[in-house]
Symmetry: C2
Subunit: 165 residues, 2 copies
Amino acid sequence: MQAVDYLAVAEKAMQQIKKGAFLTVKAGNSLNTMAIGWATIGYCWRKPIFMIAVRDSRHTFGIIEKATDFTVSIPSGNMHAQVMYCGTKSGRDVDKFKECSLVPFDAQKVTSPILDIAGLHVECNIIYKSAMDPHFLDIGCDAAIYPEKDYHTLYFGDILACYER
Amino acid sequence: MQAVDYLAVAEKAMQQIKKGAFLTVKAGNSLNTMAIGWATIGYCWRKPIFMIAVRDSRHTFGIIEKATDFTVSIPSGNMHAQVMYCGTKSGRDVDKFKECSLVPFDAQKVTSPILDIAGLHVECNIIYKSAMDPHFLDIGCDAAIYPEKDYHTLYFGDILACYER
């Protein structure tokens, strides 16, 4: 019996995402990018699926609720400073692109841009979304992750493109 | 710019699951296994997460709704015949374990058994679940996957053990 780290199977994407990636969303004239550390990847509804989560309190939430797609840019290099900045500052208060020298770059298949950084880029069409219902959430997880009761909405993206650049 | 197949990042688990895996659930004296071909894997709520989906019409649905955990056994060899049988027959009508010569085997961390087959086994505690709301589902996906309107409930498992045997 050989132990297998589950992460080994999704290592490339998931280990990098845990270090911090950028979720970028555009709807109309509204554009924002935020740091994410959580995602799942797989296959569902006969499609390749990339799931991300956005708290209802986030500036990005107001944008992604009006959007049809999103991108995730997973840096191959060390972008810890920018990840921390984008994870603690709100697009309501600052221009994260300017402050972090992050440049939007046209995506191949979706309206939301990717970031012009070296790394793995995933372009997704939102195929399903689900606002979390705490009634069905583990009590310990609820207490640990949601002391402010600002739950996530889960967005399931149909992966239309995935590439390194 | 180098194209990357998203599946390459989760290849081991996801490519095997697409060929068919077994979801096994026990609650009280009720036990069933069913074939699954969809799952996502990743990291969320500070935990390694394995998401599976069960249609409300399935015999397994009545069991997993009372269960606290589930296992997924992903065969390394060719079990196409058993996958097909378990994917088309209901545990309401037949004893799938007997008919397919599938033997439950005690899991390491959860109540639900794994199957005694060669492959990758994942043991999960259900940390969150969400019944699908078609209002938030892509219309084309709804028409293609749910002509009978028997939607899935999504179960998010905290991965407590993952190993080959």
